[in-house]
């Protein structure tokens, strides 16, 4: 089991999860409002500096962020085809900044802290009787926990193809990946039950004892 969290003592590590999540949400809104390529370029550089301060290392960073950057690049190309170059640049810089900031927050915040904060944020919904707040926190925590897990499993399936001299094709990669991920999700659900993590409702003793 791998984790996106990186041990360290940077400024971001020392900040509380709540402060980081609020700042990330506020910055996300500001970036959507901001439309100047120059200002967005400065924001991207600032985000890059913040990300670098976490101490992940360039190679590891590239491995982590490559899939998202490829997606952003594709989106930017599409934006270039249908909009002006300036608008494409705005899209590219906006998304890159957001990803760098979100990645920096993820790398400096333990999943337990995420679970706590999301649970707290969902409490008002619990008071309205809509959800169980701890379930929402746990669900978000599990999503974050599963990201490196799925990537690791994808790599293992690729390695298995290579070890057997097979050409990796999208279908032969996707099918086992989906099956293994679902199996893993089943195991986690069983573990949650076995450990009583979702708590227990008030129960009546059986009448027939």
């Amino acid at each position: 089991m791998n984790t996106l969290y990186v041990t360290g003592n940077s400024l971001l590590h020392r900040l509380s999860a709540r402060a980081k999540l609020i700042a990330l949400a506020a910055t996300g809104i500001a970036l959507i409002v901001l439309a100047s390529p120059l200002l967005l370029g400065i924001s991207t550089l600032a985000a890059l500096a913040l990300y670098a301060s976490v101490g992940i290392g360039w190679r590891q960073s590239w491995l982590r962020l490559r899939p998202v950057f490829v997606t952003i690049f594709v989106v930017a190309i599409f934006a270039l085809l249908v909009n002006s170059p300036e608008e494409a640049a705005v899209t590219l810089l906006r998304l890159t900044t957001l990803v760098l900031l979100a990645a920096a927050v993820t790398a400096t915040t333990g999943i337990g802290e995420f679970v706590d904060e999301i649970t707290l944020a969902a409490r008002p919904l619990e008071r309205l009787g809509l959800v169980r707040a701890s379930d929402i926190g746990l669900a978000v925590g599990l999503v974050i926990r599963f990201v490196p897990e799925v990537l690791g499993r994808y790599q293992a399936i690729r390695d298995a193809h290579e070890a057997r001299g097979l050409k990796a094709r999208p279908l032969t990669l996707a099918v086992p990946l989906i099956i293994l991920t679902l199996k893993n999700a089943d195991d986690i659900a069983a573990a949650i039950d076995a450990r009583g993590i979702r708590g227990h409702k008030p129960a009546r003793r059986s009448k027939e004892r």
């Binding site: 089991m1 791998n2 984790t3 969290y5 041990t7 333990g110 999943i111 337990g112 679970v115 706590d116 649970t119 701890s134 926190g137 746990l138 925590g141 599990l142 926990r145 195991d187 986690i188 069983a190 573990a191 949650i192 039950d193 076995a194 450990r195 009583g196 993590i197 979702r198 708590g199 227990h200 409702k201 129960a203 009546r204 003793r205 059986s206 004892r209």
Partner: protein, 225 residues
């Protein structure tokens, strides 16, 4: 603590995994043995409602494991055959704390409980470690700690010494024997259950023997021959 099976059995897609049986479990140390696929794990999972009986009922201190599953699971902890599957979060301290989250305890109380359970198993040095860095024995102890931090009255261990080297096996054996809680242990490791109070033998989904360890182990050797 009384676990009671009342004509309880389980079938999956028409195949009988455990034939209906009636018995009560009250002893402090209970072993479950049998060949692969004999129904041991299904039987154990029926105790805390991870598998619901398709016939009859299972109760734990009067609570029905099917209809009061969450209450029963708070009383009966279960440690899987592969402890990796038991661990949900990647950092040990966070993972153990997860079991206490929905109790709405203040953070210092959660930290104290986690530190206490790690100390109990002598693994406090592993608190901040990533789970994938732990050895087999450490992982088994971590899984045990993650379950016992919620203070169940019974703990079920599914093949706890499986795939462990001798040193880790000895560590887990010592821990199992030292547990304050009632323990139900599924195992192929006959030395582990040799001193238990009671042993159940399953064979092809049926309870084939239920007695003191020496008699049941002898019967198991006959069946396996």
């Amino acid at each position: 603590m009384q676990i009671h099976f009342e004509q309880a059995g389980a079938s999956f897609e028409g195949r009988v995994a455990v034939e209906p049986l009636t018995l009560s479990l009250t002893e402090r140390r209970i072993g479950i043995i049998g060949l692969n696929g004999s129904g041991k794990t299904t039987f154990a999972r029926m105790i805390n409602g991870l598998v619901k009986p398709t016939q009859g009922r299972v109760t734990v201190d009067g609570f029905d494991s099917a209809s009061d599953g969450e209450t029963v699971r708070a009383k009966v902890g279960f440690i899987f055959q592969n402890p990796q599957n038991q661990i949900i979060l990647p950092i040990l301290h966070e993972d153990i704390a997860l079991g206490l989250k929905n109790r709405r305890l203040p953070r210092h109380a959660v930290d104290a409980a986690v530190d206490g359970i790690l100390r109990r198993f002598g693994i406090e040095r592993l608190s901040g470690r990533r789970v994938h860095e732990l050895s087999g024995g450490e992982l088994q102890l971590a899984a045990l700690a993650s379950v016992l931090v919620t203070e169940p009255e019974v703990v079920i261990l599914d093949e706890p010494t499986n795939q462990l080297d001798l040193r880790n096996r000895a560590l887990v054996e010592k821990t199992v024997h030292g547990l304050d809680e009632m323990a139900i242990v599924i195992s192929h490791d006959l030395d582990l259950i040799r001193d238990f109070d009671r042993v159940l033998l399953f064979h092809e989904g049926r309870l084939a023997a239920d007695d003191a360890p020496s008699q049941v182990i002898a019967r198991y050797r006959e069946l396996a021959a």
